[in-house]
């Protein structure tokens, strides 16, 4: 019995892995076969790119890709700037009221932007940012999570480095840029991976604030493309899905270790 246990382990682990990857595998298979071959699981049927051709012509995918790319870039730049400044203030600058403000920021971890869709929609419209990429990204820029992450990272920088730079006549902002930011590189990388994959995948908020193909990100475009009203069949939907997840999926498979480390670093801190 004891001898059997390792085999059972392997069997269980691999079986679960196969179940877990199956939806992706089937979609991949369907995307490269004609609908009737796909649903009949005709294993010897010919492979085809027709579904991709149909899907590609069915929607402005290039524009959607560009929009998603712009969106994640805008969000990331905004987050880097804002969370660096705020994280530094919470970590290394002493001023009255700091702790109370920090608790307020932590509270925002639980006020999910997703929940405040109604008022945020009104706010974005009021600011004239409805149906703009900046409007989609803005509510996420001052991320409480990011501020917290940066604060933790800056707190671990030895104070001697700070003092040394000050003695050398470096201004506070200079110290931040020359001492703290370079030392926090791994945190920035981790945060970037988490942020990019979160916003690449975000759906509900972009659905609400975008209204035209010129701003719509991939997820919203994909949902519109696959809507039953459009009557596209399962193979074409699979092709569109595979197409839109390909960049992130390939990046993940190539940089798997970094991805996993990033999620860990972001989650544990």
């Amino acid at each position: 019995m004891r001898r059997l246990v390792p085999y059972l382990d392997t069997f269980g682990a691999v079986a679960l892995a196969i179940i877990w990857i199956a939806p992706l595998f089937f979609a991949f298979w369907a995307a490269f076969h004609s609908t009737s071959d796909a649903v009949n699981f005709n294993l010897f049927s010919p492979w085809t790119l027709d579904n991709f051709r149909t899907a590609w012509e069915g929607a402005p995918w290039l524009r959607y890709f560009l929009n998603t790319f712009l969106l994640v870039t805008v969000v990331l730049i905004g987050q880097f700037i804002l969370t660096t400044l705020a994280g530094f203030a919470f970590a290394q600058v002493k001023f009255p009221g700091r702790d109370i403000v920090f608790i307020l920021v932590l509270l925002q971890l639980f006020i999910l932007p997703e929940v405040l869709i109604v008022e945020n929609y009104a706010m974005v419209s009021r600011l004239g940012l409805f149906d703009t990429i900046v409007g989609v990204g803005m509510p996420y820029m001052a991320s409480a999570f990011g501020i917290f992450l940066m604060r933790q990272s800056f707190k671990s920088v030895p104070i001697e480095l700070h003092e040394a730079a000050r003695v050398e006549g470096c201004s506070l902002f200079g110290i931040l840029m020359r001492v703290y930011v370079p030392l926090a590189k791994p945190t920035y990388l981790a945060y970037a991976l988490v942020s990019v994959s979160t916003h690449w995948n975000n759906f509900l908020w972009p659905l609400i604030v975008t209204n035209s193909p010129d701003t719509r990100p991939l997820t919203v475009g994909l949902s519109i493309f696959g809507a039953p009203e459009n009557g596209v069949d399962i193979s074409v939907i699979s092709a569109a899905t595979i197409m839109s997840i390909a960049p992130l999926l390939i990046a993940f498979l190539v940089f798997q270790r970094q991805f996993v480390q990033a999620f860990l670093r972001a989650g544990i801190k």
């Binding site: 382990d9 392997t10 269980g12 682990a13 691999v14 679960l16 892995a17 877990w20 199956a22 939806p23 992706l24 089937f26 979609a27 369907a30 804002l82 969370t83 400044l85 705020a86 530094f88 203030a89 919470f90 600058v93 002493k94 001023f95 009255p96 920021v105 925002q108 639980f110 006020i111 999910l112 929940v115 405040l116 869709i117 109604v118 008022e119 945020n120 929609y121 706010m123 803005m138 820029m141 001052a142 506070l172 690449w200 995948n201 759906f203 509900l204 609400i208 997820t219 994909l222 696959g226 399962i234 569109a240 899905t241 997840i245 992130l248 999926l249 993940f252 798997q256 989650g267 544990i268």
Partner: protein, 297 residues
């Protein structure tokens, strides 16, 4: 000297607020102000062109409590939470134990478990559509091999919510696995050696040593899973749109529908406030648990 010190302190304060400024403005604009505005607008009636909005106090809330759909949605969301939280935690734990054990094909196994995490929920829903479609879908095809009749998984009230639940579990279990995996790697190897010398079985080792050591991680994951049970609703847009007859409708989806399909912002606001209350309770639990966690270590 003391004058110099107070000057320095004042300078620090100015720097502090300057640094916080940009983030503070955006947090106020997109989190604090909207929260208060939501509370405020939940106390007013829906304004129309003829009849401007007027103060109605708790009427929107009493309307909600009298609305059977609201209670159905609450019930659905409770089932959703009660199913997705424990099941995804247990699967995540099993995945982590396996991905951490000495088995062949470990790389493949880890990748397979984690991959759904990097996919958008919308794409996940599209993938599963292929499983659930009646007649053509993978599930029905497998069923027909065993002579089972075709089932419209997404189209009947008894199964629609469960179909949605399965997609959520599929999506989040691999993510939670990562945290378990990290925790498992911090367990010192001599504990395992000691257990082996004492002749403890693997089950005893897992139950008496590993699981207690994983407790803080489990709490952390649990809070995340609770938040996800409010937040993860994107797949509803593809799979069921909350139907049939609201059988798979979840609260956040209902808020969206209320505000952007029925244009009833006040009732959406009232529901948002109730969700914020629940999130506040989760936050309180987390802060209390974090307290415990520091005692624990």
């Amino acid at each position: 000297m003391s004058k110099h010190a107070s000057l320095e302190r004042r300078r620090q304060a100015i720097y502090g607020w300057l640094l916080l400024g940009p983030a503070g403005v955006l947090l106020t604009t997109f989190a604090f102000y909207p929260s208060i505005a939501t509370l405020w607008s939940s106390l007013f009636s829906r304004g129309t062109r003829r009849k401007p909005a007027e103060f109605v106090g708790g009427e929107n809330y009493t309307d909600l409590f009298a609305d059977p759909t609201f209670w159905l949605v609450v019930k659905n969301n409770l089932i959703y939470a009660a199913a997705t939280i424990p099941i995804s935690i247990i699967i995540a734990l099993a995945m982590a134990l396996w991905a951490n054990s000495k088995i062949p094909a470990k790389g493949f196994v880890r990748t397979a478990y984690f991959t759904p995490t990097v996919l958008p929920m919308i794409a996940a829903a599209n993938l599963w559509l292929f499983f659930y479609t009646p007649g053509l879908g993978v599930l029905d095809q497998i069923g027909s091999l065993f002579g089972l009749p075709s089932v419209n998984w997404l189209g009947q009230p008894e199964t629609a919510l469960w179909a949605v639940i399965i997609v959520t579990i599929w999506k989040e279990a691999g993510f939670f696995m990562i945290f378990y995996l990290a925790a498992l790697q911090t367990i010192p190897a001599d504990l395992k050696e000691a257990a082996d010398i004492e002749g403890a079985s693997r089950w005893t080792y897992t139950r008496r040593i590993v699981l207690p050591l994983l407790m803080p991680t489990t709490l952390f994951i649990m809070v995340n899973a609770m938040i996800n049970s409010v937040k993860l609703i994107d797949h509803l847009f593809i799979l069921t749109k909350g139907g049939p007859s609201d059988a798979s409708k979840l609260i956040l989806y209902y808020i969206w529908e209320m505000a952007f399909a029925f244009f009833d912002a006040p009732h959406a606001a009232a529901m948002t406030i109730l969700v914020l209350l629940v999130l506040g309770i989760i936050a309180a639990i987390q802060f209390l648990l974090i307290d415990k966690r520091t005692h624990y270590q």
